[in-house]
Amino acid sequence: MGTQPRRLHPVKKILSQWKGVAGPFLLLVIWQLAAEAHIAPDSLLVPPKKVVEAAIELVKSHVLIDNLLVSLDRVAKGFVFGSSIGFLIGVLTGVWKGADEFLSPILRTVRQVPLLGWMPLIVLWFGIGELSKVVFISIGAFFPTMLNTYSGIRGVSKEYLEVGKIYQLSKARLIFLIIIPSALPSIVTGVRLSMSISWMMVVGAEMISANSGIGQMMAAARDMFRTDIVMVGIIIIGVVGFIIDIVIKNVEAGIIRWQMTVK
Protein backbone atom coordinates (compact mmCIF):
# COMPACT_ATOMS: atom_id res chain seq x y z
CA MET A 1 0.00 0.00 0.00
CA GLY A 2 1.75 3.11 -1.18
CA THR A 3 0.42 6.62 -0.84
CA GLN A 4 -0.96 8.02 -4.03
CA PRO A 5 1.57 10.21 -5.83
CA ARG A 6 0.77 13.90 -5.74
CA ARG A 7 -0.92 14.82 -9.01
CA LEU A 8 0.37 17.96 -10.71
CA HIS A 9 -1.71 20.12 -12.97
CA PRO A 10 -0.77 19.15 -16.58
CA VAL A 11 0.57 22.65 -17.35
CA LYS A 12 2.61 22.69 -14.13
CA LYS A 13 3.90 19.23 -14.95
CA ILE A 14 5.17 20.34 -18.34
CA LEU A 15 6.68 23.47 -16.78
CA SER A 16 8.47 21.48 -14.11
CA GLN A 17 9.89 19.12 -16.75
CA TRP A 18 11.18 22.02 -18.84
CA LYS A 19 12.71 23.99 -15.98
CA GLY A 20 16.08 22.42 -16.66
CA VAL A 21 15.98 23.65 -20.26
CA ALA A 22 14.83 27.17 -19.37
CA GLY A 23 18.22 28.17 -17.90
CA PRO A 24 20.32 27.39 -20.98
CA PHE A 25 17.67 28.98 -23.22
CA LEU A 26 17.75 32.21 -21.20
CA LEU A 27 21.54 32.23 -21.37
CA LEU A 28 21.32 31.86 -25.16
CA VAL A 29 18.94 34.84 -25.40
CA ILE A 30 21.23 37.05 -23.30
CA TRP A 31 24.19 35.96 -25.37
CA GLN A 32 22.39 36.80 -28.62
CA LEU A 33 21.28 40.21 -27.30
CA ALA A 34 24.80 41.03 -26.09
CA ALA A 35 26.23 40.08 -29.48
CA GLU A 36 23.65 42.23 -31.30
CA ALA A 37 24.44 45.17 -29.04
CA HIS A 38 28.10 44.86 -30.12
CA ILE A 39 29.47 45.37 -26.63
CA ALA A 40 32.59 43.53 -27.80
CA PRO A 41 34.03 42.85 -31.26
CA ASP A 42 32.39 39.94 -33.07
CA SER A 43 35.68 38.09 -33.19
CA LEU A 44 35.71 37.88 -29.37
CA LEU A 45 32.01 37.64 -28.51
CA VAL A 46 30.80 35.47 -31.35
CA PRO A 47 27.05 35.53 -31.90
CA PRO A 48 25.33 32.18 -31.24
CA LYS A 49 24.37 31.92 -34.90
CA LYS A 50 28.04 31.81 -35.94
CA VAL A 51 28.79 29.20 -33.31
CA VAL A 52 25.97 27.03 -34.62
CA GLU A 53 27.29 27.46 -38.16
CA ALA A 54 30.78 26.49 -37.02
CA ALA A 55 29.33 23.44 -35.26
CA ILE A 56 27.47 22.39 -38.41
CA GLU A 57 30.62 22.84 -40.45
CA LEU A 58 32.63 20.74 -37.96
CA VAL A 59 30.02 18.01 -37.95
CA LYS A 60 29.78 17.92 -41.75
CA SER A 61 33.53 17.66 -42.19
CA HIS A 62 33.66 14.89 -39.49
CA VAL A 63 36.30 16.98 -37.67
CA LEU A 64 34.22 17.16 -34.50
CA ILE A 65 33.29 13.50 -34.30
CA ASP A 66 36.80 12.33 -35.19
CA ASN A 67 38.39 14.48 -32.51
CA LEU A 68 35.73 13.53 -29.98
CA LEU A 69 36.32 9.80 -30.61
CA VAL A 70 40.07 10.25 -30.22
CA SER A 71 39.54 12.05 -26.89
CA LEU A 72 37.03 9.47 -25.65
CA ASP A 73 39.41 6.67 -26.55
CA ARG A 74 42.17 8.27 -24.47
CA VAL A 75 39.77 8.84 -21.58
CA ALA A 76 38.62 5.22 -21.69
CA LYS A 77 42.17 3.86 -21.65
CA GLY A 78 43.41 6.20 -18.92
CA PHE A 79 40.29 5.77 -16.81
CA VAL A 80 40.24 1.98 -16.98
CA PHE A 81 43.95 1.75 -16.24
CA GLY A 82 44.08 4.37 -13.50
CA SER A 83 40.96 3.39 -11.63
CA SER A 84 41.72 -0.36 -11.81
CA ILE A 85 45.11 0.19 -10.23
CA GLY A 86 43.43 2.55 -7.77
CA PHE A 87 40.90 -0.14 -6.86
CA LEU A 88 43.60 -2.78 -6.36
CA ILE A 89 45.79 -0.53 -4.22
CA GLY A 90 42.70 0.60 -2.29
CA VAL A 91 41.75 -3.01 -1.50
CA LEU A 92 45.34 -3.93 -0.65
CA THR A 93 45.84 -1.04 1.76
CA GLY A 94 42.31 -1.34 3.13
CA VAL A 95 42.56 -5.04 3.93
CA TRP A 96 46.19 -5.47 4.80
CA LYS A 97 47.63 -3.32 7.55
CA GLY A 98 51.23 -3.91 6.46
CA ALA A 99 50.53 -2.55 2.98
CA ASP A 100 48.70 0.39 4.51
CA GLU A 101 51.63 1.32 6.72
CA PHE A 102 54.09 0.89 3.88
CA LEU A 103 52.22 2.57 1.04
CA SER A 104 49.96 5.18 2.58
CA PRO A 105 52.63 7.74 3.58
CA ILE A 106 54.08 7.61 0.04
CA LEU A 107 50.67 7.90 -1.60
CA ARG A 108 49.60 10.72 0.68
CA THR A 109 52.73 12.66 -0.24
CA VAL A 110 52.43 11.98 -3.95
CA ARG A 111 48.81 13.11 -3.90
CA GLN A 112 49.90 16.61 -2.91
CA VAL A 113 51.44 17.12 -6.37
CA PRO A 114 48.94 19.03 -8.52
CA LEU A 115 47.94 16.92 -11.49
CA LEU A 116 49.48 19.39 -13.95
CA GLY A 117 52.74 19.14 -12.01
CA TRP A 118 53.18 15.63 -13.40
CA MET A 119 53.26 16.85 -16.98
CA PRO A 120 57.01 17.69 -17.29
CA LEU A 121 58.05 14.32 -15.85
CA ILE A 122 55.57 12.45 -18.03
CA VAL A 123 56.84 14.21 -21.15
CA LEU A 124 60.43 13.37 -20.21
CA TRP A 125 59.63 9.74 -19.50
CA PHE A 126 56.97 8.93 -22.06
CA GLY A 127 57.41 11.60 -24.72
CA ILE A 128 54.47 13.46 -26.20
CA GLY A 129 52.75 10.51 -27.87
CA GLU A 130 49.60 8.59 -26.94
CA LEU A 131 51.19 6.83 -23.98
CA SER A 132 51.98 10.06 -22.15
CA LYS A 133 48.34 11.18 -22.38
CA VAL A 134 47.05 7.85 -21.12
CA VAL A 135 49.51 7.96 -18.21
CA PHE A 136 48.50 11.54 -17.41
CA ILE A 137 44.80 10.61 -17.32
CA SER A 138 45.57 7.47 -15.29
CA ILE A 139 47.18 9.50 -12.54
CA GLY A 140 44.05 11.65 -12.31
CA ALA A 141 41.78 8.59 -12.32
CA PHE A 142 43.89 6.68 -9.79
CA PHE A 143 43.40 8.72 -6.63
CA PRO A 144 39.62 9.08 -6.25
CA THR A 145 39.02 5.34 -6.77
CA MET A 146 41.93 4.38 -4.52
CA LEU A 147 40.93 6.68 -1.67
CA ASN A 148 37.24 5.82 -1.76
CA THR A 149 37.93 2.09 -1.98
CA TYR A 150 40.24 2.39 1.03
CA SER A 151 37.80 4.37 3.15
CA GLY A 152 34.88 2.15 2.08
CA ILE A 153 36.78 -0.92 3.25
CA ARG A 154 37.86 0.75 6.48
CA GLY A 155 34.23 1.62 7.11
CA VAL A 156 32.90 -1.95 6.88
CA SER A 157 30.93 -2.45 10.08
CA LYS A 158 32.55 -4.31 12.96
CA GLU A 159 29.36 -6.36 13.30
CA TYR A 160 29.79 -7.80 9.79
CA LEU A 161 33.46 -8.59 10.39
CA GLU A 162 32.60 -10.39 13.64
CA VAL A 163 30.22 -12.65 11.73
CA GLY A 164 33.05 -13.40 9.33
CA LYS A 165 35.32 -14.24 12.24
CA ILE A 166 32.79 -16.48 13.99
CA TYR A 167 32.23 -18.53 10.82
CA GLN A 168 35.96 -18.66 10.10
CA LEU A 169 35.70 -17.29 6.57
CA SER A 170 38.88 -17.56 4.56
CA LYS A 171 40.55 -14.26 3.67
CA ALA A 172 39.38 -14.55 0.06
CA ARG A 173 35.75 -15.27 1.00
CA LEU A 174 35.82 -12.49 3.58
CA ILE A 175 37.06 -10.00 0.95
CA PHE A 176 34.74 -11.03 -1.87
CA LEU A 177 31.58 -11.92 0.07
CA ILE A 178 31.66 -9.33 2.83
CA ILE A 179 34.22 -6.55 2.53
CA ILE A 180 33.92 -5.51 -1.13
CA PRO A 181 30.10 -5.74 -1.35
CA SER A 182 29.86 -3.76 1.86
CA ALA A 183 32.27 -1.07 0.59
CA LEU A 184 30.63 -0.93 -2.84
CA PRO A 185 28.70 2.34 -2.51
CA SER A 186 31.89 4.15 -1.56
CA ILE A 187 33.89 2.44 -4.33
CA VAL A 188 31.36 3.45 -6.97
CA THR A 189 31.45 7.07 -5.79
CA GLY A 190 35.22 6.98 -6.26
CA VAL A 191 34.89 5.52 -9.75
CA ARG A 192 32.46 8.29 -10.69
CA LEU A 193 34.89 10.97 -9.50
CA SER A 194 37.69 9.22 -11.42
CA MET A 195 35.61 9.31 -14.58
CA SER A 196 34.84 12.99 -14.40
CA ILE A 197 38.47 13.84 -13.61
CA SER A 198 39.61 11.70 -16.56
CA TRP A 199 37.45 13.73 -18.90
CA MET A 200 38.94 16.98 -17.59
CA MET A 201 42.48 15.61 -17.81
CA VAL A 202 42.18 14.61 -21.47
CA VAL A 203 41.30 18.12 -22.57
CA GLY A 204 44.22 19.52 -20.59
CA ALA A 205 46.65 16.98 -22.00
CA GLU A 206 45.53 17.66 -25.55
CA MET A 207 45.87 21.39 -25.18
CA ILE A 208 49.47 21.03 -24.11
CA SER A 209 50.60 18.70 -26.86
CA ALA A 210 48.62 16.65 -29.33
CA ASN A 211 47.74 16.48 -32.98
CA SER A 212 44.18 15.36 -32.47
CA GLY A 213 41.38 15.44 -29.90
CA ILE A 214 38.90 18.02 -28.68
CA GLY A 215 41.53 19.90 -26.67
CA GLN A 216 43.86 20.07 -29.67
CA MET A 217 40.96 21.26 -31.87
CA MET A 218 40.39 24.13 -29.46
CA ALA A 219 44.07 24.97 -29.12
CA ALA A 220 44.42 25.09 -32.93
CA ALA A 221 41.29 27.25 -33.22
CA ARG A 222 42.74 29.66 -30.67
CA ASP A 223 45.91 30.00 -32.76
CA MET A 224 43.77 30.82 -35.81
CA PHE A 225 41.61 33.20 -33.79
CA ARG A 226 38.49 31.09 -34.42
CA THR A 227 36.53 31.99 -31.28
CA ASP A 228 33.48 30.23 -32.72
CA ILE A 229 35.27 26.87 -32.80
CA VAL A 230 36.61 27.45 -29.26
CA MET A 231 33.03 28.03 -28.14
CA VAL A 232 31.90 24.82 -29.88
CA GLY A 233 34.67 22.99 -28.01
CA ILE A 234 33.62 24.37 -24.63
CA ILE A 235 29.99 23.44 -25.19
CA ILE A 236 30.89 19.93 -26.37
CA ILE A 237 33.17 19.33 -23.37
CA GLY A 238 30.41 20.42 -21.02
CA VAL A 239 27.71 18.37 -22.72
CA VAL A 240 29.81 15.21 -23.02
CA GLY A 241 30.91 15.50 -19.38
CA PHE A 242 27.28 15.91 -18.37
CA ILE A 243 26.22 12.84 -20.35
CA ILE A 244 29.05 10.73 -18.91
CA ASP A 245 28.02 11.75 -15.40
CA ILE A 246 24.39 10.81 -16.03
CA VAL A 247 25.40 7.41 -17.41
CA ILE A 248 27.69 6.69 -14.46
CA LYS A 249 25.09 7.88 -11.97
CA ASN A 250 22.63 5.38 -13.43
CA VAL A 251 25.20 2.61 -13.25
CA GLU A 252 25.87 3.64 -9.63
CA ALA A 253 22.18 3.50 -8.73
CA GLY A 254 21.95 0.07 -10.39
CA ILE A 255 24.92 -1.28 -8.45
CA ILE A 256 23.59 0.01 -5.15
CA ARG A 257 20.21 -1.57 -5.89
CA TRP A 258 22.05 -4.80 -6.55
CA GLN A 259 23.92 -4.51 -3.26
CA MET A 260 20.60 -4.35 -1.47
CA THR A 261 18.98 -7.26 -3.29
CA VAL A 262 19.70 -10.86 -4.01
CA LYS A 263 22.76 -12.01 -5.87
Partner: protein, 255 residues
Protein backbone atom coordinates in the same frame (compact mmCIF):
# COMPACT_ATOMS: atom_id res chain seq x y z
CA UNK B 1 31.03 -35.48 25.77
CA UNK B 2 31.52 -31.83 24.79
CA UNK B 3 31.02 -30.14 28.11
CA UNK B 4 31.64 -26.40 28.33
CA UNK B 5 33.70 -25.55 31.38
CA UNK B 6 34.34 -22.04 32.58
CA UNK B 7 36.98 -22.08 35.31
CA UNK B 8 37.90 -19.05 37.39
CA UNK B 9 37.42 -16.67 34.48
CA UNK B 10 38.11 -12.99 35.20
CA UNK B 11 38.33 -10.16 32.74
CA UNK B 12 38.99 -6.45 33.10
CA UNK B 13 39.01 -3.56 30.68
CA UNK B 14 40.99 -0.37 30.90
CA UNK B 15 38.72 2.62 30.56
CA UNK B 16 40.56 5.95 30.72
CA UNK B 17 43.50 4.43 32.59
CA UNK B 18 41.16 2.96 35.21
CA UNK B 19 40.83 -0.78 35.48
CA UNK B 20 37.23 -1.96 35.38
CA UNK B 21 36.68 -5.48 36.56
CA UNK B 22 34.00 -6.84 34.25
CA UNK B 23 34.06 -10.51 35.20
CA UNK B 24 35.33 -11.98 38.45
CA UNK B 25 35.95 -15.63 39.21
CA UNK B 26 33.27 -17.10 37.02
CA UNK B 27 32.88 -20.83 37.46
CA UNK B 28 30.25 -22.63 35.45
CA UNK B 29 29.97 -26.01 33.79
CA UNK B 30 27.39 -26.43 31.05
CA UNK B 31 26.50 -30.02 30.24
CA UNK B 32 25.93 -31.37 26.75
CA UNK B 33 22.53 -30.35 25.46
CA UNK B 34 21.81 -28.10 28.41
CA UNK B 35 20.08 -24.71 28.10
CA UNK B 36 21.56 -22.14 30.48
CA UNK B 37 20.50 -18.48 30.77
CA UNK B 38 22.47 -15.60 32.19
CA UNK B 39 20.46 -12.80 33.76
CA UNK B 40 21.75 -9.65 35.36
CA UNK B 41 21.81 -5.88 35.21
CA UNK B 42 23.23 -4.14 32.16
CA UNK B 43 26.98 -3.99 32.36
CA UNK B 44 27.39 -7.11 34.47
CA UNK B 45 29.59 -8.72 31.85
CA UNK B 46 27.12 -11.30 30.52
CA UNK B 47 27.80 -10.32 26.93
CA UNK B 48 31.54 -10.20 27.59
CA UNK B 49 31.39 -13.76 28.88
CA UNK B 50 29.66 -14.94 25.68
CA UNK B 51 32.18 -13.05 23.55
CA UNK B 52 35.04 -14.73 25.42
CA UNK B 53 33.53 -18.17 24.88
CA UNK B 54 32.94 -17.61 21.17
CA UNK B 55 36.42 -16.14 20.74
CA UNK B 56 35.58 -12.56 19.71
CA UNK B 57 37.28 -11.12 22.78
CA UNK B 58 40.54 -12.49 24.06
CA UNK B 59 42.92 -12.00 26.97
CA UNK B 60 41.28 -13.17 30.15
CA UNK B 61 42.38 -14.94 33.29
CA UNK B 62 41.27 -18.49 33.93
CA UNK B 63 40.29 -21.23 31.52
CA UNK B 64 37.44 -21.88 29.13
CA UNK B 65 37.33 -25.48 27.99
CA UNK B 66 35.14 -27.20 25.46
CA UNK B 67 35.26 -30.98 25.61
CA UNK B 68 38.27 -30.70 27.92
CA UNK B 69 40.29 -28.58 25.47
CA UNK B 70 41.10 -24.94 26.04
CA UNK B 71 39.40 -22.77 23.44
CA UNK B 72 41.52 -20.72 21.08
CA UNK B 73 40.16 -17.95 18.91
CA UNK B 74 36.92 -18.47 17.01
CA UNK B 75 35.83 -21.87 15.77
CA UNK B 76 32.83 -23.27 13.89
CA UNK B 77 32.18 -25.51 16.91
CA UNK B 78 31.05 -22.41 18.81
CA UNK B 79 28.22 -20.43 17.18
CA UNK B 80 26.73 -17.13 18.22
CA UNK B 81 23.50 -15.24 17.67
CA UNK B 82 23.27 -11.52 18.30
CA UNK B 83 20.35 -9.26 19.08
CA UNK B 84 20.34 -8.11 15.46
CA UNK B 85 20.31 -10.82 12.75
CA UNK B 86 23.50 -9.55 11.04
CA UNK B 87 22.52 -11.03 7.68
CA UNK B 88 24.23 -9.70 4.56
CA UNK B 89 21.66 -7.90 2.40
CA UNK B 90 23.55 -8.62 -0.84
CA UNK B 91 23.37 -12.40 -0.32
CA UNK B 92 20.19 -14.46 -0.51
CA UNK B 93 18.90 -16.17 2.64
CA UNK B 94 20.33 -19.46 1.40
CA UNK B 95 23.78 -18.01 0.75
CA UNK B 96 23.75 -16.24 4.10
CA UNK B 97 23.20 -19.62 5.74
CA UNK B 98 25.76 -21.54 3.68
CA UNK B 99 28.34 -18.89 4.60
CA UNK B 100 28.70 -20.64 7.96
CA UNK B 101 29.89 -23.89 6.37
CA UNK B 102 33.55 -24.64 5.71
CA UNK B 103 34.62 -25.31 2.10
CA UNK B 104 34.67 -29.04 2.83
CA UNK B 105 31.26 -29.00 4.52
CA UNK B 106 29.81 -26.99 1.62
CA UNK B 107 30.90 -29.60 -0.88
CA UNK B 108 29.50 -32.50 1.12
CA UNK B 109 26.51 -30.69 2.50
CA UNK B 110 23.75 -31.87 0.27
CA UNK B 111 20.59 -30.36 1.61
CA UNK B 112 21.99 -29.31 5.00
CA UNK B 113 21.16 -25.68 4.30
CA UNK B 114 17.72 -26.72 3.09
CA UNK B 115 17.18 -28.86 6.18
CA UNK B 116 18.09 -26.03 8.54
CA UNK B 117 15.91 -23.52 6.73
CA UNK B 118 13.08 -25.99 7.15
CA UNK B 119 13.93 -26.37 10.84
CA UNK B 120 13.51 -22.65 11.44
CA UNK B 121 10.38 -22.47 9.28
CA UNK B 122 11.86 -20.61 6.31
CA UNK B 123 11.22 -23.21 3.64
CA UNK B 124 10.51 -21.47 0.35
CA UNK B 125 12.51 -18.36 1.29
CA UNK B 126 15.85 -19.66 0.00
CA UNK B 127 16.26 -17.13 -2.80
CA UNK B 128 14.75 -14.18 -0.96
CA UNK B 129 16.83 -11.19 0.07
CA UNK B 130 17.11 -10.62 3.85
CA UNK B 131 15.81 -7.10 3.18
CA UNK B 132 12.44 -8.62 2.41
CA UNK B 133 12.17 -10.52 5.70
CA UNK B 134 10.44 -9.26 8.83
CA UNK B 135 12.48 -8.95 12.04
CA UNK B 136 11.33 -12.33 13.34
CA UNK B 137 11.99 -14.08 10.04
CA UNK B 138 15.43 -12.51 9.72
CA UNK B 139 16.29 -13.78 13.19
CA UNK B 140 15.09 -17.27 12.14
CA UNK B 141 17.52 -17.09 9.23
CA UNK B 142 20.24 -16.14 11.72
CA UNK B 143 19.33 -19.25 13.75
CA UNK B 144 19.64 -21.40 10.64
CA UNK B 145 23.04 -19.88 9.89
CA UNK B 146 24.24 -20.45 13.46
CA UNK B 147 23.08 -24.08 13.51
CA UNK B 148 23.98 -25.24 10.00
CA UNK B 149 27.56 -26.18 10.92
CA UNK B 150 26.34 -28.24 13.91
CA UNK B 151 28.10 -26.30 16.66
CA UNK B 152 28.76 -28.00 20.00
CA UNK B 153 27.57 -24.90 21.79
CA UNK B 154 25.42 -21.99 20.65
CA UNK B 155 25.75 -18.64 22.42
CA UNK B 156 22.75 -16.33 22.26
CA UNK B 157 23.15 -12.66 23.12
CA UNK B 158 19.62 -11.38 23.74
CA UNK B 159 18.48 -13.16 20.59
CA UNK B 160 14.86 -12.05 20.89
CA UNK B 161 15.55 -8.63 22.39
CA UNK B 162 14.80 -6.63 19.24
CA UNK B 163 11.48 -8.32 18.46
CA UNK B 164 8.02 -6.99 19.25
CA UNK B 165 6.23 -8.55 22.23
CA UNK B 166 3.95 -10.89 20.25
CA UNK B 167 6.67 -12.14 17.89
CA UNK B 168 8.87 -12.58 20.93
CA UNK B 169 6.48 -14.94 22.69
CA UNK B 170 6.12 -16.98 19.52
CA UNK B 171 9.87 -17.06 18.93
CA UNK B 172 10.45 -18.27 22.49
CA UNK B 173 8.37 -21.33 21.70
CA UNK B 174 10.19 -21.72 18.41
CA UNK B 175 13.57 -21.46 20.12
CA UNK B 176 12.53 -24.15 22.60
CA UNK B 177 11.42 -26.41 19.74
CA UNK B 178 14.65 -25.83 17.78
CA UNK B 179 16.73 -26.57 20.87
CA UNK B 180 14.80 -29.78 21.53
CA UNK B 181 15.18 -30.93 17.90
CA UNK B 182 18.85 -30.03 17.50
CA UNK B 183 19.92 -30.92 21.07
CA UNK B 184 22.59 -28.21 20.88
CA UNK B 185 24.04 -26.86 24.11
CA UNK B 186 22.79 -23.30 24.45
CA UNK B 187 23.84 -20.40 26.62
CA UNK B 188 21.64 -17.33 26.45
CA UNK B 189 21.93 -13.81 27.81
CA UNK B 190 18.57 -12.18 28.41
CA UNK B 191 16.96 -9.33 30.30
CA UNK B 192 13.64 -11.09 30.33
CA UNK B 193 13.34 -13.24 33.45
CA UNK B 194 10.17 -14.94 32.18
CA UNK B 195 12.02 -15.88 29.02
CA UNK B 196 14.93 -17.28 31.02
CA UNK B 197 12.65 -19.45 33.21
CA UNK B 198 10.58 -20.50 30.21
CA UNK B 199 13.54 -21.90 28.29
CA UNK B 200 16.33 -22.80 30.68
CA UNK B 201 17.45 -25.84 32.59
CA UNK B 202 19.40 -23.49 34.83
CA UNK B 203 19.32 -19.73 35.30
CA UNK B 204 22.56 -18.02 36.32
CA UNK B 205 22.01 -14.77 38.23
CA UNK B 206 24.89 -12.33 37.96
CA UNK B 207 25.75 -9.15 39.85
CA UNK B 208 27.37 -6.09 38.31
CA UNK B 209 30.82 -4.56 38.72
CA UNK B 210 32.47 -6.86 39.14
CA UNK B 211 30.35 -9.42 37.30
CA UNK B 212 30.08 -12.36 39.63
CA UNK B 213 27.75 -15.32 39.82
CA UNK B 214 25.32 -14.75 42.70
CA UNK B 215 23.19 -17.82 42.34
CA UNK B 216 22.59 -20.66 39.95
CA UNK B 217 18.95 -21.73 39.98
CA UNK B 218 18.03 -25.11 38.50
CA UNK B 219 14.60 -25.19 36.89
CA UNK B 220 13.00 -28.58 36.78
CA UNK B 221 9.46 -27.55 35.82
CA UNK B 222 8.02 -29.77 33.09
CA UNK B 223 7.99 -28.32 29.57
CA UNK B 224 6.19 -26.54 28.00
CA UNK B 225 6.13 -24.24 31.02
CA UNK B 226 3.26 -22.14 32.17
CA UNK B 227 4.28 -18.72 33.42
CA UNK B 228 1.08 -18.49 35.49
CA UNK B 229 1.85 -21.56 37.58
CA UNK B 230 2.76 -20.97 41.25
CA UNK B 231 6.10 -22.77 40.87
CA UNK B 232 7.03 -20.54 37.94
CA UNK B 233 6.12 -17.42 39.89
CA UNK B 234 8.04 -18.60 42.94
CA UNK B 235 11.20 -19.01 40.86
CA UNK B 236 10.62 -15.62 39.28
CA UNK B 237 10.40 -14.00 42.71
CA UNK B 238 13.52 -15.81 43.82
CA UNK B 239 15.41 -14.29 40.88
CA UNK B 240 13.87 -10.84 41.24
CA UNK B 241 14.85 -10.71 44.90
CA UNK B 242 18.49 -10.51 43.83
CA UNK B 243 17.90 -7.39 41.83
CA UNK B 244 15.88 -5.60 44.45
CA UNK B 245 18.77 -5.91 46.85
CA UNK B 246 21.26 -5.12 44.13
CA UNK B 247 19.59 -1.99 42.84
CA UNK B 248 19.95 -0.15 46.15
CA UNK B 249 23.64 -0.91 46.21
CA UNK B 250 24.09 0.35 42.67
CA UNK B 251 22.38 3.62 43.41
CA UNK B 252 24.41 4.31 46.53
CA UNK B 253 27.56 3.35 44.65
CA UNK B 254 26.80 5.64 41.76
CA UNK B 255 26.00 8.63 43.92
Amino acid sequence: MKTLEIRNVSKSFWIESREVNVLKNINLTVKLGEFVSLVGMSGCGKTTLLRLIVGLDEHYDGDILLGGKKIQGACRKRGMIFQEPRLFPWLSVERNVSLALSDKQRKQANGTVQKHLELVGLKGFEKVSPKQLSGGMAQRAAFARALVANPDVLLLDEPLGALDALTRIYMQQELERIWQEEKTTMMMVTHDIDEAIQLSDRVVVMSSRPGEIKEIIPISLPRPRNNKSPDFIAIKNQILAHFQADSKQIFSWEI
